[in-house]
Amino acid sequence: MSVVRIPPVLRTEAGGEREVEASGDTLRELLEDLSSRLPALGARVYAEGAIRSFVNVYVDGEDVRTRDGLDTPVQEGSTIILLPAMAGGR
């Protein structure tokens, strides 16, 4: 089981929770599991076999786009962070 941290803009779809649990050996499996538990949340993050634009997904603090994308391995106890894409730079 892994912990998925939910940003404020997605908490309605997560039943108001800040964190939910999901399981899988890869991020794809984990997002499939998340989508089956919380379909509304899953659909905002993951659709047609891809992570949606404007959503960043991090496994243990690293953006999966610079790892193996949906094939990124997930360990038991990993933390998954979902975030809206944001501009920084001031």
């Binding site: 404020p8 501009a87 001031r90």
Partner: protein
Amino acid sequence: MVASSLLDLIGSTPLVELAQLSPPGRTIYAKLEGQNPTGSIKDRVALAMVESARLMPGAELLEPTSGNTGISLALVAKLKGLKLTCVMPSNATPERRALLELYGATIVDSPGNEGSNGAVRMAQEILAREPRYTMLFQYANEANPRAHYEGTGAEIASELERVDALVAGLGTGGTLMGTGARLREAFPGVQVVAAEPLPCDPVMGLRSLEDGYVPPVLDVSKLDRKLLVSNTEAAAAARVLLEREGIFAGVSAGAVVHVARRVADELPEGAVVVCVLADGGWKYLSAPFWLGEEIDEAVLWW
């Protein structure tokens, strides 16, 4: 050195070894961008953007910025006879506001809870209403990464014989894209690593995911790694940087050093990591983290 203009003193910043913070057998060098004329890396970007725009004297600039870019643009605008209006989140630190005003910029507030995205949105609205403004828009201006390709990256490549990893903060993406591209030419195996701020609840108060924004300057596929850093980790590293190396740097520099140490640890013996410290600590003095107090996650980054 005698310069005929302060603008000639932008860039050519020093590299210093972080002897106390480098893991055994590895070397971390820090590029001290706080030594630019207004105290941040954004001097490079502001000068490059203004020069490439070829504006007439008296032209009016409008830019969404909560600090460093605005201060840099204000200096460049002053010395080139231009006017500047900055759109900034209302919760930016008082030092940054005061500095902008002292340099001669006009400030327009955007909602603090919308962060940088809110400032961008408001600036675009003003521009649509008042076409006399020129918006250089660092998020989409190719002079931004080019300043780092021709400056930051070229300087590092000419000073060092080996670079295994570059670590810089992820804001507009300009530093990482430009410096990264130049270093890849000189050191083909170099890893380009982004240290990314973990946003906090107030900043993430977007209305929906569709309000999200990826700067056109940023091409995530050109990053080898992208690592989140919490404000707590960044502030702790900024304190350690001051305590152990005597470098008084800003919070994003703390984040970058935090990631540089992690990356250096994972690289083989002999590896060289360069991290870009975007500014000094001065503009964050009112933030309580220097004393180890509770950190206000909202306003610290840049």
